[in-house]
């Protein structure tokens, strides 16, 4: 299988580390000079950029967390003047305490290149027709599939989240060869194909590029068997780039991290200590080339392990194990991230209910599918007021949808009925 940039992707590891060090010196110098937040963190730790002389010296620095990103809204973490920023993104929406991330033209060019690398790596060529069935409105990374496909010369059919029936019709009409979507949506297409009795032979699919949520191997097998393709995992971090941080290669022994742009560490999520190769822990990433929004030691909350031994595909880039677990309480439902604090923010708008809640997750084939929110009324809602109760549920459902982008069924419980909030 071809490698798009063998000079980088198959670079010997010593040269790669030298390149990482060259870039790290610049990131550290820029962050210290232009981001007050980082200058403060360095000063508090009694460090200067001169203390970062090797890649492991980065361990002297404190972590950057999601909370830091929220606290420094809007421009607190930007390292370049706004004149250099050409794109703003709000990875967790605009609701409540948002996060805003900026990208320069060069940042975007690198992002497109990273996704194109992964596409070429799994065998996508200029002869392919890529059906992008990601939610363009909610998942801003969807656009990257278009732009990276252009780089390769492949054609894009941006079907977004139109119904599975239409997806299947388009697949047949345009002979789509690649499906890019969340695994749960791919599963939904599988079910619809079975229901509508569309023969597998009518589809021309050969590659699936799936991501934005955890998906077990059983789901991979079902999607591959039912859609007649080979499915690959693509990984990203919303607060950095998603997709594009890492992707599977044909060997499927983990996802190759684009290490010329990210420095990866694994830490014990509780102690913060670095863990050796092969041990599971939280993935921590330092951006090496993001000019607008450099992040030093960003805690991704994703649990994985790193493997540095050579991969049969010929790439020398480190491999990370597929991600199935998080260190925080965020859950991903059909590719949409749901943070508990966002739900709490919405509930705070309704004085009629408590802010403690129970979230029930209905799963399908081992993946999160539907959410039901159980919440107790603050004052007893009498039976005479049932209509009001239904109205309230409806209103809360709409508010949650606006804030999170997902339908969450709301059920008002009787007082005392509420289970322990998760």
């Amino acid at each position: 299988m071809p490698i798009m940039q063998p000079r980088i992707e198959s670079m010997n590891r010593r040269d790669l580390q030298d390149l990482q060090m060259e870039r790290l010196q610049i990131v550290v110098n820029q962050a210290y000079a232009h981001v007050d937040f980082y200058r403060r963190k360095f000063d508090e730790a009694g460090l200067s950029p001169d203390d970062i002389k090797t890649l492991t010296d980065i361990r002297k620095l404190p972590f950057t967390t999601r909370q830091d990103l929220m606290d420094n809204y809007p421009y607190g973490l930007f390292a370049v003047p706004l004149r250099d920023v050409v794109c703003l993104q709000f990875p967790s929406g605009l609701y409540g305490n948002p996060i805003v991330i900026g990208y320069t033209q060069e940042d975007l060019r690198i992002w497109r290149e990273m996704v194109a690398r992964i596409m070429v790596g799994v065998g996508i060529t200029e002869h392919d027709v890529i059906q992008v069935a990601f939610n363009y409105g909610l998942f801003l990374g969807a656009m990257r599939f278009n732009q990276s496909a252009e780089l390769i010369g492949a054609a894009v059919v941006p079907t977004s989240i139109t119904s599975a029936e239409i997806q299947l019709r388009i697949m047949q009409d345009f002979r789509s060869t690649v499906l890019a979507s969340t695994p749960s949506f791919a599963l939904h297409i599988v079910e619809t194909r079975q229901k509508r009795r569309i023969p597998r032979a009518n589809l021309s699919l050969r590659i699936g590029l799936l991501g934005a949520e955890p998906w077990p191997e059983e789901v991979r097998q079902i999607i591959e068997a039912e859609l007649g393709l080979r499915a690959y995992d693509i990984y990203g971090v919303l607060e950095l780039v998603e997709p594009g941080v890492a992707g599977e290669c044909p060997a499927r022994q983990g996802l190759h991290i684009n290490e010329d742009h990210f420095l990866a560490e694994i830490i014990d999520p509780v102690s913060g200590e670095n863990l050796p190769e092969g041990e599971e822990g939280e993935l921590v990433l330092t951006t090496l080339t993001n000019a607008a929004y450099p992040l030093l030691r960003y805690r991704t909350s994703d649990l994985t392990a790193l493997y540095y031994d050579p991969c049969p595909c010929g790439r020398t880039l480190v491999r990370m194990a597929r991600v199935f677990k998080r260190t925080d309480q965020m859950i991903t439902v059909r590719g949409i991230n749901v943070f508990p604090e966002k739900i709490r923010e919405v509930l705070a708008l309704f004085p009629e209910v408590e802010t403690d809640y129970t979230l029930q997750v209905k799963r399908k084939k081992g993946m999160n599918d539907q959410l039901q929110l159980l919440v107790a009324p603050a004052q007893a809602v009498t039976h005479k007021e049932t209509k009001k109760k239904e109205n309230l549920e409806e209103e809360m459902q709409m508010a949650l949808r606006r804030a999170i982008g997902l339908r969450i069924e709301v059920k008002l419980t009787e007082k005392g009925e509420r289970k322990e909030a998760r």
């Binding site: 060090m21 610049i26 820029q30 001169d50 706004l82 004149r83």
Partner: protein
């Protein structure tokens, strides 16, 4: 071709380079830009072995050159054209060029042939062959310095401020010649005050600020970088958060 890592250098107690890490690939023109006192010239002097480095490593064509004498480094093909005193004023143009090839011990015919190549690159010098270098104009002297360096057949040529003190039309000529050098087998590391020209003709560039590498990227990319524009190209933006 050249890889330097964590270079630190001092003048007395003053630290002028702070763990500088960078590389140059074969066939590239790489520019090093920065304000006065950023440490550009010191960095070149460290690479060519003239100024001692306190720390770090310098690898030239897979060989560690730390501790080698400047002559040994030149013999390896790493040649520097300094900012000043680059030619011997009392020697003629031809003698200066011959000195450039001194370490290579060429036979007469070969030397003549290579000198002809230099004259082809700088036709003005052909008419001044016998003239003492001290009587040349600033532009001619710069050309002679380049020619002298090329006589050493460098695989990496380090140029320190080749445009310094020259008239604009001469500067254009010099840069045109520099741009043609990679095709003739030389890789270029260029130090320049004239940031616009240096960025325009290079593949990649590094920006030095008080002894630190603060930016790197392609020449085109840095030409459009607001920080570079403000610091070196004399352009200003209104405020950090205005467009």
């Amino acid at each position: 071709m050249l890889k330097i890592k964590n270079i630190e250098a001092f003048y007395g107690k003053v630290q002028v380079l702070r763990h500088v890490t960078m590389h140059v690939l074969a066939g590239e023109i790489v520019s090093l830009i920065g304000a006065n006192g950023a440490g550009k010239t010191t960095l070149l002097n460290v690479i060519s072995g003239i100024h001692p480095a306190a720390n770090g490593s310098r690898v030239f064509q897979d060989q560690e050159i730390k501790g080698l004498s400047p002559e040994k480094i030149v013999a390896l093909g790493l040649v520097q054209v300094p900012e000043t005193d680059k030619v011997f004023p009392s020697l003629s143009v031809v003698e200066n060029l011959e000195l450039g090839a001194y370490l290579r011990r060429l036979d007469e015919q070969r030397r003549r042939q290579e000198m002809d190549e230099v004259f082809a690159l700088f036709p003005l010098l052909r008419h001044r062959q016998k003239q003492p270098a001290g009587t040349l104009s600033g532009g001619e002297r710069q050309m002679l310095a380049l020619g002298k360096a090329l006589m050493a057949r460098p695989s990496l040529l380090m140029l320190d401020e080749p445009s310094l003190g020259l008239a604009p039309n001469v500067v254009a000529e010099i840069f045109k010649t520099i741009q043609a050098l990679p095709a003739k087998g030389s890789t270029i590391l260029l130090v320049e005050q004239n940031a616009w020209e240096a960025l325009r003709i290079c593949q990649r560039a590094y920006v030095l600020e008080v002894g630190r590498v603060i930016l790197s990227g392609s020449g085109q990319e840095l030409l459009h970088n607001e920080e570079v524009k403000r610091a070196f190209l004399g352009k200003d933006y209104r405020g950090k958060w205005e467009r």
